[in-house]
Symmetry: C3
Subunit: 638 residues, 3 copies
C-alpha cells in the first residue's frame, strides 16, 4: 500500500460554490483523503432535535465526485450552546472547582451521563445516514482527547462516577482502606460515598487516591470512546480512528487504541517545540523553524504501537500556527521533511491541517495549504512535491526494529503524583532515552508492558516503569534480549506501595536510600554522570558493572540484565546504550545533532533537522533535507 | 495663561484647626490649586440618606480664603460600606468569578444600575450644593478609572448589560453569528441571552467575542462617566476633569475625554518604571530614581490629545511612593524636572499628590509635600522653586508638532486578545516608536484615527492599527505627509476577521505568512534588525525599499507611503525614522540616552534624566537638570 | 540531666506482632523516648462515639515494657472523615475562598466552635484514660500548628470569630475606625458585624485590618491550644509539649509556649534548605546534603526561649524526606552532627522521625531509622553512635549568652502586611543578623520584647521591631548593654500608624524619607553597603557614627545606643557587629564559612557543615565533623 496525503476541510466555513473548486484543487495537488464534519454539530442540529443533513450530503458528494476518500468526524468535541440548557451540569470543573465554560471547545465532562446520551444520539444518526456511504472511508471519533487539559474533571458527575468506579474496583471499603493505606493520618473511609475527588486538599492527597483518580479519568475516556465505537460499528465497516495529540499522557492511549482500527495524531512540530519541550531556550532557538528532531519520530513510533501497526498523521502543521508562545514559519522544506519522516515511520496517510486558512475565529492565524484569499501557501507546493515523490517511490514497507522502549501511561501518572524531586518527569525520562538511542542511528519500537512477553527485540529499555508484577519479572528473566531497566522501574506495587523487591531481577541487591537531586547535583562515573535521581543499592561486587567515583553502584548487571540506578546525562547514556546495543548485536551509527535516519525494507531515510547543510559519510544533506537511499534490509540492526 | 501648581488635600484626615495653616502654607509655597473630596463619601453621607456637608463647607471656605482654587471630586470611587447593603451585588467579579470585595477602593461594577443610581444621587447633591460656589473652579469625576484592573467585570450585572449592548450593536443574533464567525467550533447562538462573558472557557474564547466584551467594558466607563457629566453640567459651569493613569488601555480615553473639558493624569515616574516598564532590569536600575525618560512625555502628549489641547497633571509624585515593587526616593531635582517637563508639554496645572504624608492606612508610605509631622519634605522645596521659576518665565505656548503617531485603544484590545506571539504588546509597539522618534529630538503629537483626515503633520506613524477602513485608506492615499504604516496595521476588519486587503496602500502586494518570533530570533537588514514580528509579502521589486539579508521585503514604499513589515530594533528604527523625517523635511537632533528636548513657542526645554551631568553641544545639563533656552520658533521642525 | 534520644512510632501502621521487636530495637540502639498516637483518631474513634482504646493500651504497654518513656499525642490535627458529617463547615477556606478539603491533614478551621468541642471530647477521654499511666511521660498537643499554611482561614466561622475578637479589642466601632484610620477611602464601619475578612479586596486592604486579622488568627491558635492544655492538666501532671516547625511565623509561638511546659520543633535541615532558604541556588547547592549552617541553631535558640529554657527536637530528619523540591540524602555524619548541635543548644531530647519508613501513603519516600523492610538505615547507626557518645560525655549545662537578638512575631506580620519593598522580609532581617553574629563565634539568646527589661546581656540587637512603647524605650535608655536597633525598629504604633518618634532613643533625629531599594541598588560606606532598605534622618553631626559616601547618616550613636539606618550586607554587618561586640566586651572568633561553635558550661562544641574537612586554629574538623572540647566557662564571652 502506497502512503497517501490528505487534508482537513470545513465546507461549513465556505460558500457552497467554492466546494467544487477546492475538491478539484485537492485532487490536482495529490491529496486523496479529506476529513470533514468533526466540529459541525451546530450546523447538523441547529436546534435540539432539528437536523440539517443536506448540506453535508452535498459536501460529501462534491468531494467524492473528485475521487476523494472521506474521514467523517463525530462532532462530540463541540456540543452546541443549546446542549448547556439540556445539561446545565455537563461542564467539567477544573481542579480549583471552576466550571470550564462554553465559548471554545471540549467543554464537557467525560462522566456526565446525560451528555453521553446526547452524544450517542447524534452519532447514531450520523452512522445511520452515512454508515454505508461509499465515500466514507473512515470515521474519526471526537477530536484530540485531552487537548486543553480536558481529561480530568472535578465535577459532581465525576465524583459520583469515581465512587462507582472505586466500588467496582475494590468491592468493599475496607479493601480500599487497605490498598490506599488510609490508616495514615486517620484518612479511613466507612463508605465509598465518603470518598471525594483528590483536589483542594490542605497538603498533597494520598498518592493511591490520586493514582486511582487518574486511572478512573483515563477509563472515562475509554468508555466514552467505546460508546461511539459500538454505535459506529453497527452501521459501518469503515475503520475507526481518533486523532491523538503530542505529549498528552493523561489517558491510556493503548487502551483507547485497542477499541479503534487506526491510530492517528496531530503533528505540530513547531508548536510542540515551543509549548512542550524540556530542552531549554538554546535548543528551542536552534530548532525554532524545524521542530525537535526526535519529538515527531517518538510519537510516530508510539502511535504505530497504539494502532497495532496502523497509523496516520491526521493533522500535519503546514506553516505558522496560532497557539504556541511563538509561532514562526517553518524553514522551507520542513513540511516535506515532516511528511516523509511520518511515512518512513509507517504512516499510511499524512493529512494537512487545514486546507485553507480561515480569516475568522480562534485559529485565524493558523496557516493552511491555501491562504485566506485562496492563493496557494508554501505548504501546498511542498505537499504537491511530496505527492509526486511518493508516486515515484511507491510502497514503503516497515521493518521490525531490533530495539524497543517500554512506554506506560500509568507510570506517567504515578510519577506525576509523586515525583519526589521536581525535575522528575516520566515522559522526559523515556524521551531522553529515545533520543539518545536514535542519535545512535537505530530504529525503535515502542512497547507496552503487555507486549514484553511477545517480542523478539534484541535490546529492550524499560525506564521508570511503575510496577513489575511477577509475570513480567518472569518474562524478563527468561528474555534473551539485552535488558536495561531503571531507574525507578518496579518501585511500586499496583496499589502504590513501595515494592521492596526492587530491583526485581537482582534478588541479592538490597535497596537503600533514594535521592532526588537539584539541578547541577549528581554523581560522576568514568563515562558520564547521573542527575535528577539516584538509587542506592547494596549489591554483590560481581554484579556491579559501573560505579560512581564515590563507589556507589550505578549499573547492576547479570548476564543480559542490567539495572540503571540513576538518570544518565547525554554522555553516560551514549556510553551505556552503545555497550548494551553492542552486546545485543545491533549496529549503531553515531549521528550528528539534528540528523536522524530511519530504516525500512528497501530504504534508508535521512532527515536533516538543521538549518544548515550537513555531511554524514557519503550522504550530503541540505538544510531541511531528506535523502532516500535504497537498501536491502529485511530486518534492521544487522 | 501661565502654568500653575497645586496639590491634593484631604481635610477629613486632619484636625480642623490645622486647615488654615495648611492653606496658608500652600499659598506661600506657590500653589494655587487644591483638589479635595474625591474619597470622602463616608464623611458626606455617613449613613444612607443622612448628609453632613458642613465640614466640607468649612474646608472649602478655609482654602478659598487663601485664594486657592478648588477641584472638587465626586466620591464615587469609594462607596461606603453601607452601599453594599443597599446593593449586595454591586461588586465586580474578576475573571475567575471571585467577588472583588469591600475593604480598599474601586469596589464597584460599572454595569450595576443600582450603584449608578446611587452615584447619580450623591453627585446631584454635591453639584447642587457647590455648583455655583465661586471657589469651585473645576470638578474631578470619580478617580483613576481602571486603576487596580477595574474596567472589566464578570458579574451578573455585566453579563446582562453585555447582552443588551450586543443586541443594540447587532440587532439580530444571526448578524452576531456572522460577525463573530461562530460557525467555527459550533459556537452558534440562537439568542443574545445565550451569550456569556468570555471568561473561564476551556481554551481561548472567540476573539471577536473578547473584543466586543472589551468594547462593551470601555463603553460602560463612558456611560458611567457621562451620567456624572450630565448632572454636573446642570449645576455648574466649571470644567470637568478626570484623572487618568499611566499605561492603562482597557478603556478608550479619547471617548471618555470627549465628554470632559480637561484631561489630567497621575504621573508617578518611579512607580511606573518599576511597575509598568518593559525595558528590563538594567534600564530600571539606571533610571530607578528618575523614571523612564519617555514615559511621562508620552502620556503628556497622549492626554493633550485626549483633552483636545487642555490637560493637567492631577497627581505628581513628590517622593517615594508605597505601591511599586521597590520605592526609592527621587534623585534631588527630579520633582522639579518632572514639573517642568509637564509644563513644556502643555500642562495647565501640575498638582502634587499629596499635601501631607498620612501616617495611617494603605498609603502611609506615600510621600507628600510635608512629612507626617508637618515638616517640609524635599518636594516642597522643589515645588516652591518651580513656582518661582514659572513666575519669572511666564506664559508657555505650545507649538504644532511636525510629527505624529496614531494611538488607538481598540488596537490595544485587539492584540491583547490575539497577540499571536507572547512578546507582542501594542502599547510597547507604539511606545518604542515614540521613544525612537523622541531620541531624534522631535516633538510629537498623538492622534486618533479620526484625526488623520484633519491634520497637516509632515510625518505620520501608524504602527499596529487594527483596522483601516476605506475612508481612512482614502485619506492616507491623499495625504501629503510621509506615512510609515505597520507592522500589523490594517490587518483586521472591525469584526476581527483577517483583512485580506492588507497592506492596504499597496494593492500589488500579496500577503503571505505572518510570524511571531522568539526573543533573539529575527531578520537582519543592512541598517538593523526586526524582532518579535514579521510579515511576509510578495511585492513588485520597485516597491521594495529595504530587504532582509534573506531577501524578504522589509520596507515597502511608494512615493510618501511606506509599509514596515516587522518590529524594528533600536538601530533599524533610528535609521528608518531618520530617513522618513528627512524626506518630510523635519529637523532632527540625535540626543544622548536620557536627554530629551521639547520645543514650545519661544523656548527649547532640555531635560536630563541621567544621574550624571551631560553635555549636548553648547548645552550643559546637570544631573536631573532642566535647561530652558529661548528660541523663536512659531512652528517646529524648521 | 543527660540529654536523651527518641523516635516517633506508629504502632497502628504495623502488625501487632512487630511491636515488641521494634521496642527492643529502640532500647538497644540507645533510644529512651517514643512518641505515639498523634494521628490515630480514626483508630481510636472509628465511628462517632465508638471508641477503641485497647490497641493503644497494648502498644503503650509493649513500649513501656522495654523501659521507653512515652509522649502521647492528641490526634486533633487529623480529624476522621466522619467529623465532616458532624461539622460540614469546619474546613478552613483559603484566601481565594476555596475550601481546604479532607484528604490529607490539618483540614480544620481554628475558629470552628463545633470542631473545638469535638476536640475537647477526644482529648478528655484520652486524658482520663492515660493521664495517670506511668509510662506517659509527656503529652504532645496537636501537630505542627501552621504547617501547610493553616493558621489563617477565611471561613464564615473565622469571620464571625474575628468580629467578636474585634469587639472585645475595641469595645465600640468608633474606636476601631479611629485605630485603623478608616476615614481613608471612606472605609468607615458602623458596626463590628460589617467588618469582613481582609481577603479578595480590589487592591490591598487596610494594613491595620490585616494586622488585626493576623493577631486574631494567632490568638485562635492560642485558645485552641489552651483548651487542650486545660483538659490535660486536669488529668495529668506530665509536661505538655507542642512540636513547632521551622520558619513559621503566622502565630506567636511565645504566647502558645507560655501555656506549655516544653517547646519542641521538627528539624528538617535538608528540607528546609530547599524549601525555606533565601540564600540562592549556589548556597543551596553547597549545603544540599548538610543543611543551612545557621537555620537549625536559630530555631534551637528561638525555641529555647519559647520553652523558657526547656526544649526538644521532636522530629529529627534521619535521611531523605519526601516533601522538599529536591530530596537528597544527608552527607554521612550529618544526622549525628544535627543531634549534637541540638544538644549543645540545650535540647533535652532529640527524637528521630520516624522509626521505620512506611511503604505507603504520602510519606513513603520519607526515610526512617529502619528501611521499609526493617533493615537498619544509615541514621540508626548514627543515632546509636550519638547515644553512646552521650553516655560517655554525660550532662551538658547551658551557659547564659552575652549576646541577644529580639524576635517578635507581630513584627513579622507587620512587615508582611506592608513590606514597602518586595525584598523586605522580617525573618530574613533577623536571621541575617543572627548568622553574621554566629560567624563571629558568639552564642546567642533570642528574646521577646517583654524580656528586654529582665536580662543582663552585654549586647542586644533589635532589628525591625514594629513598635517600641514608652516602657520599652525607657528600659532601653536605662540599659547598660550595647544596643543595636534598627532598621525599621519602632516605626509603627500598635495601631499600625507611622510612629513619628522614630528613632526613639535619639530625640534630636528627624525622620526624613524612607526607601526600599531594588536588588543591586544601595548605599556604600567605608566598611560595606546597605541594601533593600534605607531610612534618611537629619541628625546632629556628633551622633553620626558612620555615613554613606553620599554623606547620609548610616549609624546613629550615642553612648551604648546605636540606630542602624539600613539593611547591612555581610561585610558591613561583620564590621558593625564586631565593633558593637568589642564595645560590649564580648570575645569574638571569626569562623570560616560552614563552621560554627557553641559554648556550654564545660565544653566548646565545633560543627563543620562543610562537605570538606576544615582546620580552625588547632581544631581539625572532618567533613560533617563534630568536635567536643572541654572548657571551663561558667558564663560565655569572657
Amino acid at each position: 500500500m502506497k502512503p497517501e496525503l490528505g487534508c482537513c476541510y470545513y465546507p461549513e466555513h465556505w460558500p457552497e460554490e467554492r466546494w467544487e473548486v477546492d475538491a478539484r484543487l485537492m485532487r490536482e495537488n495529490g491529496l486523496s483523503w479529506v476529513r470533514v464534519g468533526e466540529f459541525a454539530w451546530s450546523r447538523l442540529e441547529p436546534t435540539p432535535g432539528n437536523y440539517n443533513w443536506e448540506w453535508l450530503d452535498r459536501a460529501i458528494d462534491t468531494l467524492a465526485a473528485e475521487g476523494l476518500k472521506i474521514v467523517l468526524g463525530t462532532p462530540t468535541a463541540t456540543p452546541p450552546r443549546w446542549m448547556l440548557k439540556r445539561h446545565p451540569d455537563m461542564l467539567a470543573l477544573d481542579a480549583q472547582g471552576q466550571p470550564r465554560k462554553f465559548g471554545s471547545r471540549r467543554h464537557y465532562c467525560f462522566s456526565h451521563e446525560g451528555y453521553r446520551a446526547s452524544c450517542a444520539e447524534i452519532v447514531s444518526l450520523l452512522a445511520q445516514r452515512y454508515g454505508s456511504h461509499t465515500a466514507i472511508a473512515a470515521w474519526q471519533i471526537d477530536n484530540e482527547y485531552g487537548c486543553h487539559d480536558t481529561i480530568r474533571s472535578y465535577s459532581e458527575a465525576a465524583r459520583n462516577a469515581f465512587q462507582t468506579w472505586l466500588k467496582a474496583r475494590y468491592q468493599d471499603i475496607d479493601t480500599l482502606n487497605q490498598a490506599w493505606g488510609t490508616v495514615f493520618w486517620s484518612m479511613e473511609y466507612s463508605s465509598f460515598y465518603e470518598v471525594d475527588l483528590p483536589n483542594l486538599t490542605v497538603t498533597e492527597p494520598m498518592p493511591a487516591h490520586q493514582l486511582d483518580f487518574k486511572r478512573f479519568s483515563s477509563d472515562q475516556v475509554l468508555s466514552f470512546n467505546r460508546l461511539q465505537c459500538d454505535i459506529l460499528r453497527q452501521h459501518s465497516t469503515a475503520p475507526l480512528i481518533h486523532n491523538y495529540m503530542g505529549r498528552i499522557v493523561e489517558f491510556d492511549h493503548f487502551a483507547v487504541g485497542a477499541d479503534l482500527d487506526i491510530a492517528s495524531w496531530d503533528a505540530y512540530p513547531l508548536g510542540f517545540l515551543e509549548d512542550r519541550s524540556d530542552y531549554g531556550d538554546e535548543w528551542r532557538a536552534r530548532f525554532a523553524r524545524q521542530g525537535d528532531p526526535d519529538f515527531q519520530a517518538f510519537h510516530h513510533d508510539l502511535y504505530r504501537a497504539v494502532g497495532r501497526g496502523r497509523w496516520w498523521v491526521m493533522e500535519q502543521q503546514p506553516g505558522p500556527v496560532n497557539w504556541a508562545p511563538y509561532n514562526p514559519a517553518p524553514l522551507p522544506g520542513m513540511v516535506r521533511l515532516w511528511s516523509w519522516e511520518a511515512i518512513a515511520h509507517g504512516a499510511e496517510v499524512v493529512s494537512y491541517f487545514r486546507w485553507r486558512q480561515l480569516p475568522f475565529a480562534q485559529e485565524q492565524h493558523h496557516a493552511g495549504l491555501l491562504f485566506p484569499n485562496a492563493q496557494p501557501a508554501p505548504a501546498l507546493i511542498e505537499a504537491n512535491q511530496t505527492a509526486q515523490e511518493i508516486e515515484s517511490i511507491g510502497e514503503i514497507k516497515q521493518l521490525q526494529s531490533s530495539v524497543a522502549i517500554v512506554f506506560d501511561y500509568e507510570s506517567a501518572w504515578a510519577w506525576e503524583t509523586q515525583p519526589q524531586g521536581q525535575s522528575f518527569d516520566y515522559f522526559k525520562l523515556v524521551f531522553d532515552q529515545y533520543r539518545a538511542l536514535r542519535a545512535l542511528g537505530v530504529s525503535i519500537d515502542i512497547l507496552t508492558v503487555e507486549m514484553l512477553g511477545k517480542t523478539d527485540h534484541k535490546a529492550i529499555f524499560i525506564p521508570g516503569l511503575m510496577s513489575l508484577n511477577s509475570e513480567v519479572v518472569s518474562q524478563l528473566t527468561q528474555s534473551k534480549a539485552q535488558l536495561l531497566i531503571g531507574p525507578r522501574t518496579g518501585s511500586r506495587t499496583t496499589n502504590f506501595h513501595i515494592d521492596t523487591c526492587q530491583p526485581h531481577l537482582f534478588p541479592d541487591a538490597q535497596a537503600l536510600q533514594i535521592e532526588s537531586l537539584r539541578p547541577g547535583a549528581g554523581y560522576s562515573a568514568s563515562t558520564g554522570r547521573v542527575e535528577h535521581w539516584f538509587e542506592h543499592y547494596r549489591v554483590p561486587d560481581k554484579q556491579v558493572a559501573l560505579r560512581t567515583v564515590e563507589g556507589y553502584p550505578l549499573l547492576i548487571s547479570e548476564a543480559t540484565r542490567h539495572y540503571l540506578c540513576g538518570w544518565p546525562d547525554e554522555a553516560l547514556a551514549r556510553a551505556l546504550y552503545t555497550q548494551i546495543l553492542s552486546a545485543a548485536g545491533v549496529d549503531i551509527l553515531e549521528l550528528p545533532e539534528g540528523v536522524r535516519i530511519r530504516d525500512t525494507q528497501g530504504h534508508r531515510f535521512w532527515f536533516n533537522y538543521n538549518a544548515e547543510p550537513c555531511n554524514v559519510g557519503e550522504v550530503t544533506l541540505s538544510a531541511a533535507g531528506v535523502e532516500i537511499r535504497p537498501s536491502n534490509r529485511s530486518t534492521d540492526g544487522i
